[in-house]
């Protein structure tokens, strides 16, 4: 017997304006988000690969991640990340007027 319980994702489904159902929607949206992050945030992948234990298997992953990071940076795709990061660091460094 199932308990009636309240879940945050219990939301009435609306008639969809597109043909995609839930499965196709999750595949498309998660896939696109992953590709976008690979392009705009390859730095994070390179950082992650840098933390892997060195070995013959990880050497390939490391080289691929570093290569992707360099190629995306060369095309300026890391600019949004760098701009946001600089803004955030300015916020972190900000102090009260009388403390400066």
């Amino acid at each position: 017997m199932a308990d009636a319980f309240d879940s945050p994702i219990d939301i009435d489904d609306q008639p969809s304006p597109t043909a995609l159902g839930g499965r196709a929607q999750v595949a498309t949206s998660v896939g696109i988000a992953a590709v976008l992050l690979l392009l705009l945030n390859a730095h994070a992948l390179a950082l992650w690969a840098d933390g892997l234990k060195p070995g013959p298997r990880t050497a390939g992953i490391y080289a691929a991640a570093q290569g992707l990071s360099s190629r995306t940076a060369a095309r300026g795709l890391d600019a949004p990340r760098a701009t946001l990061r600089a803004g955030w660091q300015r916020l972190q460094a900000a102090d009260w007027p009388d403390q400066r």
């Binding site: 945050p8 969809s16 949206s29 955030w88």
Partner: protein, 470 residues
């Protein structure tokens, strides 16, 4: 393997693909995939304890079979139920409390001449043990109370191992999840959009607000309160109230979202707890799956609301003391639980004997008052030792002038965390419906950009969730 890491993303994406491809054709294979994935998830922390997880599920499943058979035959279930509860408590007690009791008993045993015989062993606490043993116990008790049907071994093992809730809840009961395992779930567009929003929202709360407050303010304030001003310590206390809410509710949000993307519904675990106008109300809004567990399996078993008012107060106090001890083998958690028990008992006595002419406290003032009771409790909860907690109160009361630790960003994050907490409950459904109407590629771009923004704001590395230690 923490949710807000690339390790987890690289683990979860293939699992998601498998459950909606192989797992779409066969529900049994879907469950096997989820079970194996859950063991890999848990094994990434320590492989040895996967065996403990399986053993715990096997014990609960086999004892529940006996309890059910006896209940069906009209015989007493107490012997098998008692054995099952004792087995769960023994597992929890050994890993979580053995060291504490040994340390507390050591002076007495040493004085009695048994000091050199003390078994000095360092016990590693398996992540999430408090959660999966409570799940096992609730399953057994529900079977004995005939509130749920016996689950197959696969279903029960999956229930207890399911990776979204495995290490820090919500405590999902058999009656919540096992019926959902009966068939391949149907995934709707609003489920997907709500799940994605919860994951991104949780990432933001954890990686930006909770982590930044922890490293920039709270950890320093609690490490050396004597070196800080009164305002910094006050900000540290408020900061911790926001940090623990953002940290734990973030985990719950992400757990609900991750399960939701695979088609499963988890119960709500938070409902604006700092809006509570009484402590009883607070416990209906904070860590709802634990408070309802304590109510259903401990408070009611102790007698609940039956008997006189003093008996009810005793039950409240015992429930909260044990609830505090559930969080960890430390005096600070016992004091925290005791404080909540005491205030709950006072509320109960006040309701019983309140003079009819006594005025009611206006709701905003009641909310403010209860928030500060909760805040005082958080200082005990956060401090490493009882002496540390008392020193924090003393140094805060000293109100030394100046402000050195609380930067505008920290003050802003406390304000933002509170604002997020007070966001209207209807916001998620409204957003989820709106996002569900978007074309999926647009949703993907929005999710990708949101994660990018969060990743730029997070510090290097990420601290474990506070509730991982429980």
């Amino acid at each position: 393997m923490l949710f807000p890491t690339l390790d987890f993303a690289l683990f979860f994406l293939p699992v998601l693909v498998l459950v909606w491809t192989v797992g779409q054709a066969s529900n049994e294979w879907r469950k096997i995939i989820l079970l194996l994935a859950s063991w890999i998830f848990y094994g990434a922390w320590d492989w040895r304890f996967v065996a403990l997880l399986i053993a715990s599920a096997a014990i609960n499943w086999s004892l529940a079979q006996r309890v059910h058979a006896r209940a069906e035959a009209g015989e007493s279930v107490q012997p098998w139920l008692g054995l099952g509860v004792a087995a769960n408590l023994a597992i929890l007690g050994f890993f979580k409390y053995f060291g504490f009791f040994l340390a507390e008993l050591a002076p007495i045993l040493t004085a009695a001449g048994f000091g050199r015989d003390l078994p000095l062993i360092e016990i590693i606490l398996p992540v999430g043990i408090s959660f999966f043993t409570f799940q096992g116990m609730s399953y057994l008790i529900d079977i004995a109370r005939r509130q749920t049907q016996p689950a197959s071994f696969l279903d029960l093992t999956l229930l207890m191992s399911f990776f979204p809730h495995l290490v820090a809840g919500p405590i999902v009961r058999a009656s919540h999840l096992v019926p959902q395992f009966a068939a391949v779930p149907r995934l709707t567009r609003t489920m997907v959009s709500a799940s994605l929003i919860l994951i991104v929202w949780g990432l933001f709360k954890k990686a930006v607000i909770a982590s930044e407050l922890a490293t920039g303010l709270v950890d320093t304030a609690f490490r050396d309160p004597a070196a800080l001003s009164g305002l910094d310590l006050l900000a540290g206390a408020y900061g911790y109230a926001v940090q623990i809410y953002c940290d734990f509710s973030a985990y719950s949000d992400m757990a609900v979202g991750i399960a939701g993307l695979m088609g499963y519904r988890f119960p709500r675990n938070f409902d604006q707890p700092y809006r509570a106008a009484s402590l009883q109300d607070f416990w209906r809004r904070w860590h709802i799956s634990l408070s309802s567990w304590l109510r259903d399996y401990l408070y009611i078993s102790l007698g609940g609301n039956r008997g006189g008012v003093w008996f009810v107060c005793r039950n409240l106090m015992l429930t909260m003391l044990l609830g505090g001890f559930w969080h960890g083998a430390k005096w600070t958690f016992l004091i925290w639980g005791g404080l909540h028990g005491l205030v709950l008992a006072i509320e109960r006595l006040w309701r019983e004997w309140r003079p009819s002419a006594a005025p009611f406290l206006p709701r905003p003032l009641a909310i403010l008052f209860i928030f500060h009771i909760v805040l005082a409790g958080w200082i005990f909860f956060r401090a490493d030792t009882l002496a540390g907690a008392l020193a924090y109160f003393a140094e805060m009361a000293a109100m030394r002038p100046g402000i050195t630790l609380t930067t505008p960003l920290m003050a802003g994050l406390i304000g933002l965390g509170m604002a997020i907490h007070f966001a209207p409950p209807a916001l998620l459904p409204v957003l989820a419906r709106r996002v569900a109407a978007w074309p999926a590629p647009l949703t993907g771009i929005a999710v990708g950009l949101a994660i990018l923004a969060i990743d730029t704001m997070r510090g290097d590395g990420i601290a474990a969730f506070i509730y991982y230690q429980f």
